[in-house]
Amino acid sequence: MYKLTGVKKDYQKGHEVVHALQGVDLTIGDGEWLAIQGPTGHGKSTLLQMLGGLDRPTAGSIQFGDHAGDDLAQLRESQVTKMRAESIGFIFQTFNLVQTLNAQENVEAALVPLRVPTAERRRRAKAALANLGMADRVHHLPSELSGGQQQRVAIARALVKDPQVLLADEPTGNLDEGTRDDIMALLEELWRDHRLTMVLVTHDSMVARRAQRLGVMQNGRLSIKQDTRDQPAASTRPT
């Protein structure tokens, strides 16, 4: 799904230049679950943003999908936006729901760029929420939902368009332990059922261990610490 070659990202911070990514090489296969761990400020989220086309690298290439020519670093903004709309779902630590829209409308927002007709859009949003046990909360505003419920809505929003890739940035960072486990179990189930390629950024080892592959970001460099792609997912592996 992805092939990153020599990806670098530098930021200007006042008079200083911050080297957020220092030459990352990475290949992510279709249907793979990669977790990226590491201390705060070492480039985890930056790498995720590169994978999602939310930012452009300073150097290097990011091949995405089956099209060899689709280098995210070179595509026009409109092409990257279209790719995000069709193929990539995002989940954020702070849920990032639109506070003025209810649960169903938040999920529908992901289908708006695809110009899905209104009736179809509503049907699919309701179905996505129902799949995540939120059928009775479709008309609730985010402020009326718990953290776990809001994250479920966010997951529904990410998956309603049947993406190829799911990028999650600290999806359990704002949740308590019990809810964290629920959400992780849910994500794992969805990853399996939808055959998603999932990249999950976390600082929580318990969460990271569930992935097939574990990478660690340290000072802008990525090293793979665990590779269990040939093995079942962590939750099903014998302890």
Partner: protein, 502 residues
């Protein structure tokens, strides 16, 4: 999704949206009120000006009198008695002359030529005359010089009545002072009255002289039957009486000459307000030596509070409205930009979901235009309210028109200060060489003082164009505010937006 999102978002920041809408409403309301005030003042001016020379008349053409048509001291030469035959002493002489004073004459052909000019919808001629009545008893003469002397002469102050000759054919009745008169009793003059001895009287004159419909009035020694009474605005010294033009021409004189086929005022209606200036120039070229006066000229001579109100509305009022509107637009822009700044993470998320910059900007602009439309609607309401309040509390406006030499406007032609009378107390006589002179001269003053002050009520009028302007301003305000906010939103990089801590 757009409408739902807009509605919810505006509800969320209702206070801020209300401030923006209120600011726009105040600016737009002020624009409407000032526009209505200007229209009201213009209508008041028009009401005053139309009373001077008629509802549909845009231009008047008059001619100054010929130099020397008056004797020294001015005035008509009255002729009475026979040629050189002095009346006997003790004879009572009644004078009743219908004269044109203070204005030169034009011909019917001039009127026809004026009517044929391009840009002219209609033209009609009229006569502005004065009927002067006097009654004197010839005193005994001491001989030698004729005239008065010895004993005291009998002196009665003369009376005068202003008389307008109205062209009753074609458009004549629709132009000129009669067109703005309101019939209060009897009937108006008809085309069939063209050669009849019928008269319309000013209701105030009729009241003062105890006349009514059916009464008889003598003009130039001819009895005219009163067909009706009309009410006219006091501005412009309205005539006391209207008679058919043909009768005025037959009975009147100017400098001792007959007025047959003559007029002393031409009333012209242009076919459009935009053409008035051009038509005025054409008339000046067609009839050299005449005075061509249009509404703009007269408007400049209006004095009193109506002129002040006009100045206030067009200067201070306009600039104040522009300043308030500019401030409202600026406030809307700043608050919209601030609102976008607070929604950076939200817009970053939408971009992450695949929303294009154009869609995000469209959302921002749409919200701003919605606020603008709400502000515009409230502004229209405020404009109506402001206009109503101004109309209710504004004191009546006063107006007077200054003199315009040689025109039919009031003051010049009709003012009469009495005459010079020789004699009295044995002081000698009117020169005449032993005989009674062929006439004596009376001075007709060219003293055209300002017309009486008239009061009109200011009625601000909100027009359709003002409301349309308000709608355009409301949308413009929304677009400007949305443009600033949208530009801010379009520059957001998703990654930077998502990294923002709120």
């Amino acid at each position: 999704m757009f409408l739902t999102y807009t509605r919810r978002e505006l509800r969320r920041r209702a206070r801020q949206a209300s401030i923006i809408a209120l600011g726009l409403a105040l600016g737009i309301g002020l624009v409407i009120t000032v526009t209505a005030l200007s229209t009201g003042v213009r209508n008041a001016q028009g009401e005053i000006l139309h009373s001077l020379y008629g509802q549909d008349t845009d231009i008047t053409v008059t001619k100054p009198p010929k130099f020397g048509s008056f004797s020294a001291g001015g005035g008509e030469r009255f002729r009475f008695g026979g040629t050189g035959t002095p009346p006997k002493a003790g004879t009572k002489v009644n004078i009743d002359n219908l004269t044109s004073g203070g204005l030169g004459t034009l011909t019917s052909a001039n009127v026809t030529a004026a009517a044929r000019l391009s840009g002219v919808a209609a033209a009609a001629g009229g006569l502005t005359l004065t009927d002067t009545k006097d009654s004197i008893t010839i005193p005994r003469s001491n001989g030698g010089f004729g005239g008065f002397g010895g004993g005291t002469g009998t002196f009665h102050p003369p009376t005068s009545m202003s008389v307008d000759g109205v062209d009753l054919s074609g458009n004549g009745a629709a132009l000129g002072p009669l067109s703005s008169a309101k019939l209060v009793s009897g009937r108006t003059l008809r085309q069939t009255d063209a050669n009849a001895d019928v008269v319309l009287l000013n209701s105030d004159y009729a009241r003062s002289n105890k006349l009514s419909v059916g009464s008889t009035v003598t003009i130039a020694k001819i009895s005219f039957k009163v067909a009706g009474l009309v009410e006219q605005a006091a501005t412009g010294n309205p005539p006391d009486a209207f008679i058919p033009l043909a009768r005025a021409q037959a009975l009147g004189t100017a400098a001792g000459k007959s007025l047959k086929g003559k007029v002393n005022t031409v009333y012209v209606a242009a076919n459009s307000a935009q053409n008035i200036t051009a038509v005025s120039k054409e008339l000046s070229a067609l009839l050299p030596g005449t005075t061509v006066t249009n509404q703009n000229d007269l408007a400049k001579q209006l004095t009193g509070s109506v002129a002040s109100a006009s100045s206030l509305a067009s200067n201070l009022g306009r600039w104040l409205a522009i300043a308030v509107l500019a401030a409202a637009f600026l406030l809307a822009s700043l608050l919209t930009t601030a609102a976008v700044s607070r929604r950076v993470r939200e817009f970053g998320t939408l971009k992450a979901l695949g929303w294009t910059s154009r869609r995000v900007v469209g959302q921002v602009v749409g919200e701003a235009i919605t606020i603008g439309v709400i502000g515009g609607a409230v502004g229209v309401g405020l404009g109506f309210l402001g206009s109503a309040l101004v109309g209710h509390f504004a004191p009546p406006l006063s107006a007077a028109v200054g003199p315009t030499t040689g025109s039919a406007t009031p003051g010049g032609a009709r003012t009469f200060t009495g005459g010079m009378f020789a004699g009295g107390g044995g002081s000698g006589g009117v020169p005449g060489g032993g005989g009674f002179p062929g006439g004596f001269e009376r001075s007709q003053s060219a003293l055209a003082g300002a017309t009486p002050t008239v009061h009109v009520h200011l009625i601000p009028a909100v027009s359709g164009s003002a409301i349309a302007t308000a709608v355009v301003l409301a949308i413009a305000g929304g677009l400007i505010a949305g443009g600033f906010g949208g530009w801010r939103a379009s520059r957001l990089r998703p990654a930077a937006a998502l990294a923002r801590v709120e």
